[in-house]
Assembly symmetry: C4
Homo-oligomer: 215 residues x 4
Amino acid sequence: MRQIVADLHAELVRYNLVVWTAGNVSGRIPGEDLFVIKPSGVSYDELTPENMVVCDLDGNLVEGEHAPSSDTAAHAYVYRNMPEVGGVVHTHSTYASAWAARGEAIPCVLTAMADEFGGEIPIGPFALIGDDSIGQGIVETLKGHRSKAVLMQNHGVFSIGKDAKSAVKAAVMCEDVARTVHVARQLGEPLPIPQDDIDRLYDRYQNVYGQRSPR
Amino acid sequence: MRQIVADLHAELVRYNLVVWTAGNVSGRIPGEDLFVIKPSGVSYDELTPENMVVCDLDGNLVEGEHAPSSDTAAHAYVYRNMPEVGGVVHTHSTYASAWAARGEAIPCVLTAMADEFGGEIPIGPFALIGDDSIGQGIVETLKGHRSKAVLMQNHGVFSIGKDAKSAVKAAVMCEDVARTVHVARQLGEPLPIPQDDIDRLYDRYQNVYGQRSPR
Amino acid sequence: MRQIVADLHAELVRYNLVVWTAGNVSGRIPGEDLFVIKPSGVSYDELTPENMVVCDLDGNLVEGEHAPSSDTAAHAYVYRNMPEVGGVVHTHSTYASAWAARGEAIPCVLTAMADEFGGEIPIGPFALIGDDSIGQGIVETLKGHRSKAVLMQNHGVFSIGKDAKSAVKAAVMCEDVARTVHVARQLGEPLPIPQDDIDRLYDRYQNVYGQRSPR
Amino acid sequence: MRQIVADLHAELVRYNLVVWTAGNVSGRIPGEDLFVIKPSGVSYDELTPENMVVCDLDGNLVEGEHAPSSDTAAHAYVYRNMPEVGGVVHTHSTYASAWAARGEAIPCVLTAMADEFGGEIPIGPFALIGDDSIGQGIVETLKGHRSKAVLMQNHGVFSIGKDAKSAVKAAVMCEDVARTVHVARQLGEPLPIPQDDIDRLYDRYQNVYGQRSPR
């Protein structure tokens, strides 16, 4: 799990979702009330399985020589309150954060967005770091929502998934559709996709797909 | 052909036309009713000649250990109905998909666009995955049209060519002109190119060029 | 220090803050009235500890075979007048320079901006190269301001820090927030963050953070 | 000279000025009525000193196994009519080509632009490939103009320099300022730089600079 989480940070770098040390990936350890997360203040080039840290579901450091990411409390809150979640990702990726700065959800005007998110990507509340506010905002917004990503107002993106890789995929796709819909909107209004077509696309992608092999 | 198709996916990555596993290249096997296509759910880093899959013109898997790309039915429909086509590419590249989200054709305001596409890049219909709708939309739009690329509404790009490399070139050029024309339009109206100049440029590029060497 | 300053230029390249030879990093030599800076006219690929140059606080060359960066006078003025500064960075990074071309400060509408800059990133005066005008403009704008970066009108960015790495981080974050706020503003007005929340975020980031480990 | 010209194409790729095989660099052979240019239809990865081609000032192939670039006539016309020019570069770089598509010169609102171009980057006429029209348009626009780059309407950029490297630098800087001024204009009007300040900056950069070392 340390290896998986360390390696997945390279995807954040590859897709330009992060600068300096500003984003992080975590993954729940199957069968235990623990998760692996990025250490604070270590650059992406220097991440190794060894310097990843392990925390319990209250965000306390259980194993590791570095302090855990400053966003650990938000990750922990999600794991505590959404048992189906196996991975969490946080980034300040440019286009998604721009929608977040306006407090505007991304409308579902692309089939790839219907596939992955099943509709719009919603806005979560403005929340300060330091207590459970961010975690609560994430959970309240995503519980019962199809979307695996939430745009936290004036802040950035949190994405979730059944495992860490799935959460990273959601973070990558979120920035990709945030950018494409932004660009589309710059020169006019994108055409809406009818709700029942969104439903069909989402259903097919989650089910037909799942029965064969991951895309 | 497996080697060629596997290698061409690297061009999609190099020109930032794809994220995660969302685009695909296929190439018709000369002299046979078969084509080689990307396997589903395999990342671009892991593509090898060996894990490419071979399908017949109905999209059925003929050879390979992975399921074929989820867009295989659309590729197959094109090969079945456009015998002159030897390669097909599909991407969700950002700028082209943004035009597609608005359902707006890209006007021909660049000489490079006249050279490669001979005029505007047209919009194809909104079509759901799962049957021949996407393939039909591609073929109906591109049959008898100079353009080697079509913007499928709310979806992305399909491009065609005499072989896989030519279809990849069209996909690369489509995103390049989609971006440049978008940027031009952000601050005003691009100047039109007279139709007979477009015709001269296209004719020269397709013919004079062809008699010497590929550009 | 030569090694550190030489290596930090690679971060300017990595984050696309510079083209050709247009940006530079310097670092004060602890305990001495000297600083290390990029040589003029040497490309980023060719920077080594050996070809870095050492200047005194009047910007005179003290050690090195190349002429110092043409921006040396501005760096020297900052070191002379802000003893707490241990590193200075100058770039023409795209989005920050675009705000500078309009003479417009970047409003603080992102929590990452409150963390790093404690408020808006201010505009400095239009100043010509050749005397102390640029240095004076930087110091007058940043003295007593929380921001570690200033947008020099019609020119580009100067950033400062307690050491060269911290100044590079400020240059990287400045371009990142300049881009995100620009993108946000393209489609409407970003939501403001209340001043006391900005204060809380800044205080926490500078203090709580500092007591544990650098982020 | 073959080595220099071959290597300089890597700068076009590094700064994202070209896609596929669409841009080219040439360099005059000192003391001879000959120049080295990119072969047609060879990808940037495959350029070597050996496959560069040599042409005379009428654009005829003198040495080489490949056909010369399809833009050779324009390069040759420039060398024939501007004896002070030692290098020519052509690209379809995105932002510069967007200004060209609108037929709009780039106003000089950045000090880096005053340094390198001494004022606006002008628009050249719409001209078709196939005779001397493009070359004439370049020469008529740039003769007696400070700018080393011209935006050929609906087409792209041609830049010149005392040698090939200097022309490549102009192409890189042209795209950089085209992008920054575009971004600035998206959210309002950039502040003008007074003409006499532009003159001072240009004079200093061309003269003071030249007496020390190239930047």
